[in-house]
Amino acid sequence: MNRILLALLLLGAVALGTTPLWADDDNHEHKKFTVGQGDPHNLKPVDNEIYQAECGSCHLAYQPGLLNRDSWKALMSDLAHHFGDDATLEPEAQNQVEAYLSENAADAIQGFYVKKAAAEAGKPLLRFSESSYFKREHHGIKPQVLARPAIRSWAHCEACHKAADRGVYEEDYTKIPL
């Protein structure tokens, strides 16, 4: 009898100290996508740990396919003034992130639409949200919607695009928070 009690006690103690292994923080179904076909709704997901860790702490680790090589190069050349923030990296991380972005940039793997946008601006585009493509896609979003505390910035893709971290920006996976 006492052994059973002890066993139950131990079981309880273990349960208190652990999170259920079956917990899943995704509240959407998983679906397979074809990536890398130049479709901006469906980009090759980020697959570089250093880029994810270094850049993804402050903002979504944007898929490299969102911008051209020239753009990434321009961004990476002045991280000390990164949209008003000092985002300087250690030399090793700097080199690795630069290489990753360059190898996976829009013009390196798939995109043509960003190239067009970049040409419009006459200089490398530093924000995908400034491309005419992006603006067209988001023209219906009013400033007061963007200003909602749960959204706040065009840089905050994942506020509405629930699968943005997987490169998925499709309508089905988009929900604008109130």
Partner: protein, 145 residues
């Protein structure tokens, strides 16, 4: 009867231990704090140890950015309640809780500790934090239960 009491006692210990004990410092953060203490002593021979109260003031203290003319503090991104997730002041990106009692991953890698003190002190205060400030802050954040 005595055995049952023993079990009850054990049960009490198991259940209450995580509630009453504050988060223990991991070896990495302990070593980091010790190093800051040595530096603080070097800077000021009268250094008499870190102080959680000063650390708390540092966390909530506002600094007006010279260029942007906006009031900045740690709670611009982290929350007033350090035990809940915050969000980046500019991008809105979710930032996991900073208090180790709520987030065991905090302050476990020296490189990360240095990196974030470096970046965030510059963002808020436009300068590096002193060893005294770093030690005070860590001392305070580990008092949160």
């Amino acid at each position: 009867m005595q055995r049952v009491s023993l079990f009850l006692l054990l049960l009490l210990v198991f259940v209450s231990a995580p509630l009453v004990a504050g988060p223990k410092m991991n070896p990495t953060v302990t070593a980091f704090i010790n190093a800051q203490a040595a530096l603080a002593r070097k800077a000021d021979p009268a250094f008499a140890g870190f102080d959680a109260g000063r650390g708390e003031k540092l966390y909530f203290g506002e600094h007006t950015h010279s260029e942007k003319q906006e009031a900045r503090s740690c709670v611009s991104c982290h929350k007033k309640d350090a035990k809940v997730a915050g969000s980046h002041a500019d991008t809105g990106k979710k930032i996991d809780a900073i208090a180790p009692v709520a987030n065991k991953k905090r302050f476990t890698k020296e490189k990360e500790i240095r990196k974030w003190f470096g970046r965030n002190c510059k963002w808020v205060l436009e300068r590096e934090c002193t060893p005294l400030e770093k030690g005070d802050f860590l001392t305070w954040i580990y008092t949160l239960e």
